[in-house]
Point group: C2
Chain length 285, copies 2
């Protein structure tokens, strides 16, 4: 049970977490913080938060748990603003899709990683963004990966784990580097391909007509290209090394496939498609 | 209304067309033809076809409309087998995802494009394949592109158009080259990316674990990688030129995006993601 929860960044993630914890009666008071007062007004009027604050210092004051739910590029600045105003007993976590960059931000602001900070990442969300899209079921049966360091306090880990469990999620622990590699492969690379594909098609001469003939498979394939551009710009910067490695692997493999098409190499095409189908059928049944 | 319909290739497409036309009471008798007797048995027992034939010559005899619903790589052989057994008044169409290759096959087998052949392509389907996946609604409100040539008989075009309308589809006419270009962009290229991505991930060292953390976005994005490998091998060969052009455009654009990641070029990343999101939101709302 959390006394006062402070959510910094009241969007899809922060708003959905607030809704889930409120529904579970796991929190007494929820303070929302955003630079955009219209987001706060929406969150207040939808009953997602109890109190709204524009200033981070005021928002975090007296909070038991503080959740940073801002794009990764804003984490460092938020940390700088909250540093001197957080209660000693407070626990801090975040929802960023890359974790090494959050560690770097913590080091830059604190000079060390505070014991009460538990980096976290709920593997949930959709292409919609903003508090208007927040739903209490967003984290239901989804994985949340936390990446505590050796000296992170057991108490802080427990507080964050219990919070996500109360929101319906399944909590797992992973080391920072491994998290960033896995996410580069399963999320960041696919987003790059979807964005790049839609952009390629959008710049064809007969763009309008091209998209008219896009069927259901195309809609599914490109859904993630409707994701928030700012969030994804920040993820690219934050997980640059792991993402670049995956992009290079992918481009090398796609060049092989392209050569197989150029050579009309039936056997190689069949081998690639069969391997892919077998993996996909096995892991995503 | 069709007297006798012959469907060569009783899979997802052929089976679904038969089901749709039967439900619409648009056909008196449906003859199914397949080299695989188990497919025919399934189609018979599910009431999809009235009569089953292994031999093409016997299947097409007396048929008013003949639909080739086989992978593109089998079209030429099927044409060779049916050529001397089709009634003069019969109309022939197909469902292949590329059309220039069908024209080539017709030329190779007939020495010219017969007046009674209307190349066609229903933009429908899903990653499942086989007659077991056939449903009467597969073509409901989906586009079917037909690519008649100048000398194709008006009667044949009408017969094929009415058949697809009866199956619930919206029929449009396009020239062969344009069809193949549009489909390379909206369907064939995305399939290459999905197959290639899953194959790349499947060959990472910690494959099992990687796929465990794939969330909903990944499932949608890779759904088309579960498509039929033989069908897609044939599409690559059949639409080689148009597909290669799109693959090269895409790889060039992805190289630009990769360089933007390498350079941490925030503005370029944002520009690409915003353009893509705007297009996707506009065309796939």
């Amino acid at each position: 049970m959390i006394g006062r929860l402070c959510v910094i960044g009241v969007g899809l993630m922060g708003g959905s977490l607030a809704l889930a914890l409120r529904r579970a009666a796991y929190v007494e008071e929820i303070v929302g913080c955003s630079r955009d007062s219209s987001h706060l007004d929406q969150a207040l009027s939808k009953g997602i938060i109890d109190r709204a604050e524009i200033e981070i210092a005021a928002a975090v004051k007296g909070a038991d748990v503080i959740v940073l739910a801002v794009p990764l590029g804003a984490v460092r600045e938020v940390l700088e603003h909250l540093k001197d105003h957080v209660a000693e007993s407070a626990v801090i976590t975040d929802v960023g899709s890359a974790k090494a960059s959050v560690i770097d931000d913590l080091l830059a602001v604190y000079g060390e990683i505070p014991e009460n900070v538990v980096p976290g990442h709920p593997i949930a969300g959709n292409e919609k963004c903003g508090v208007a899209a927040a739903i209490p079921d967003l984290f239901h049966q989804r994985r949340v990966i936390i990446t505590p360091l050796k000296h992170t306090s057991t108490h802080a880990v427990e507080v964050v784990s219990r919070m996500w469990s109360a929101a319906g999620a399944m909590v797992e622990t992973m080391d920072v580097e491994h998290h960033d590699k896995v996410l580069a492969a399963t999320s960041h690379l696919p987003h790059m391909l979807a964005f790049s594909l839609v952009d390629t098609l959008a710049r064809l001469e007969d763009e309008d007509e091209i998209f008219r003939y896009a069927a259901g498979g195309f809609r599914d394939f490109t859904r993630i290209a409707s994701s928030d551009p700012v969030m994804w710009r920040d993820i690219c910067i934050a997980n640059r090394a792991a993402l670049l490695e995956m992009l290079e692997r992918f481009m090398s493999d796609l060049a092989v496939l392209t050569q197989a098409v150029a050579d009309s190499d039936k056997q190689l095409l069949l081998d690639i498609f069969r391997r892919a189908k077998a993996s996909r059928d096995e892991f995503c049944h």
